[in-house]
């Protein structure tokens, strides 16, 4: 943004670079830590946490489902933040962040839907009900899908990052309204089609709460690791492309402006 003093913008762009290199430095640590906590989480889920009285084994999927849902929504917020930063800074890094967060968000949204359905079959007697939260998550999945398709179908030569950023921002603003409208749609309706059980989150015993919290942290670590890894891949791929162009041109004796970070 041009209204910012020049020194501020420079500070920001150095921060971009610093942030990136810091993330690359801590990446292996985060990776191994994520593996460790994940193993620990599954240990807790399968051997430590007591069986729920009413639901039995199916309830255990809850420890995967809830973290997935949290990350699905968190990555959408991440896409939003990275999109805003990209439009503001026009720094390639934020564009890459937005795209990678969307990919991983799509993955976790899918996981949320699948685990939800697997749980719903034994407990509700159906894979799917048009419950407000399920419906919103399904719509979120479509929004993510559309966002990724948009990037995949970009016309060559078009700066798709900017367009995708606009779509990412609009999508994020729309999600709360979609959720509200879907809740109204369900609750104002004269005849609810399916009886919906109380959410299993209410009044959790301490052991379950601990397991859930551990699971949430380990999934978040995995998310962070995936994100850094993907951003690194994309960034490396882009740098390679730039290098190729430069090599190609230096061979033909043309000087090119451009730097390899």
């Amino acid at each position: 943004m041009n209204w910012l003093p020049r020194s501020w913008r420079q500070l920001w762009s150095t921060l971009d670079g610093r942030l990136y290199h810091f993330l690359i430095d801590v990446r292996p640590w985060i990776g191994w830590f994520a593996v460790g906590t994940m193993v620990f989480t599954f240990g807790l889920v399968f051997w430590w946490v007591p069986l729920e009285d009413v639901q039995g084994y199916p309830q255990k999927i809850f420890y995967i489902h809830v973290p997935s849902a949290w990350l699905a929504y968190a990555s959408f917020a991440f896409v939003f933040a990275a999109s805003v930063l990209y439009l503001w800074q026009r720094s390639r890094l934020w564009d890459i962040f937005a795209r990678c967060a969307a990919e991983i968000g799509f993955l976790f949204t899918t996981l949320t839907l699948v685990t939800g359905m697997l749980w719903g079959r034994p407990i509700w007697g159906a894979f799917w009900t048009w419950d407000a939260r399920l419906t919103t998550t399904l719509i979120l999945w479509f929004i993510y899908g559309g966002y990724l398709l948009l990037r995949a179908f970009a016309r060559p030569g078009v700066d798709v990052g900017r367009i995708a950023a606009a779509v990412g921002i609009i999508g994020f603003l729309d999600v709360p309204i979609i959720h509200m409208s879907v809740v109204w749609w369900r609750t104002l309706h004269p005849t609810p089609v399916v009886m919906i059980m109380d959410d299993p989150g209410g009044g959790l015993p301490a052991s379950m709460l601990v397991t859930l919290l551990v699971s949430l942290s380990s999934f978040t670590l995995v998310f962070v690791y995936f994100l850094i890894q993907r951003v690194w891949q994309e960034r490396t791929a882009e740098n390679l492309e730039l290098l190729e162009t430069i090599l190609d041109r230096t061979e033909r004796g043309v000087k090119v402006k451009g730097e390899v970070p």
Partner: protein, 224 residues
């Protein structure tokens, strides 16, 4: 800001272009009619079901026909790169968007003037005295849908699969409007005034928010 005059120029130009090819509006109307027909096949409705399905069939037909229309109306600007002519003019991007948005709204309203009586007859929708309220809901939902539709037609035009992508991007984000249209209509049919006003309020809020956001973001999307 360059004032609204250029937006009116774009609107007048779009109207003229559409009237030069009435076939395309007619085809959209036929297509929308077919969507309504298909809804009659859904669930083998009894007379009581008909009125319940009616608003949904009507809005679904508007939704689908709209997606076809937005793509075409924006494609006018792609032929001979006319969009560059617009971008070249001393007119702010926001004003350009307002012009295209107004055109899309008018075309959709024209389409609805055909579809509403058709759906009302075929699905025996009788809102009685509530038609007046429906006449408020209809344009409110249409204005919002036209804003999103015009914006995403511009987005999709920057891809190699615009016809394919437009509905994929547009429909999920239009869910609140679709629900407001359907549920608001059903509330009127069931004589539940309070619910109707809730849905109308939602649609108005949606229009204000996304009308503004799309207008502002349009420049980001069409610039090279």
């Amino acid at each position: 800001m360059s004032g609204p005059a250029p937006a009116l120029a774009i609107l007048a130009k779009d109207l003229r272009l559409e009237l030069r090819r009435v076939e395309s509006l007619a085809t959209m109307a036929v297509f929308a009619g077919l969507v309504i027909l298909i809804f009659a096949f859904v669930g083998d409705p009894t007379p009581a079901d008909l009125a319940r399905i009616g608003p949904g069939a009507l809005w679904a037909s508007i939704l689908f026909a709209g997606a076809l229309g937005f793509e075409r109306w924006f494609a006018e600007e792609e032929r001979n790169a006319a969009l560059h002519g617009l971008l070249l003019a001393p007119v702010d991007r926001e004003i350009l968007f307002l012009g295209k948005w107004a055109g899309a709204t008018l075309f959709l309203l024209g389409l609805e003037a055909l579809l509403v009586p058709a759906a009302a007859t075929l699905f025996r929708l009788d809102l009685g005295g509530a038609w007046g309220s429906f006449a408020i809901l209809l344009p409110v939902v249409t204005v919002g849908y036209a804003a999103l539709g015009t914006f995403f037609a511009a987005v999709a035009s920057r891809t190699t699969a615009s016809q394919l992508l437009l509905p994929v991007l547009l429909f999920p984000l239009s869910v609140p409007l679709l629900l407001a249209g359907i549920e608001g209509g059903q509330a009127l049919a069931a004589g539940q005034g309070g619910e109707f006003w809730d849905w109308l309020g939602l649609a108005v809020a949606f229009d204000v928010l996304f009308g503004t956001v799309c207008t502002v973001a349009f420049g980001t999307v069409i610039e090279e």
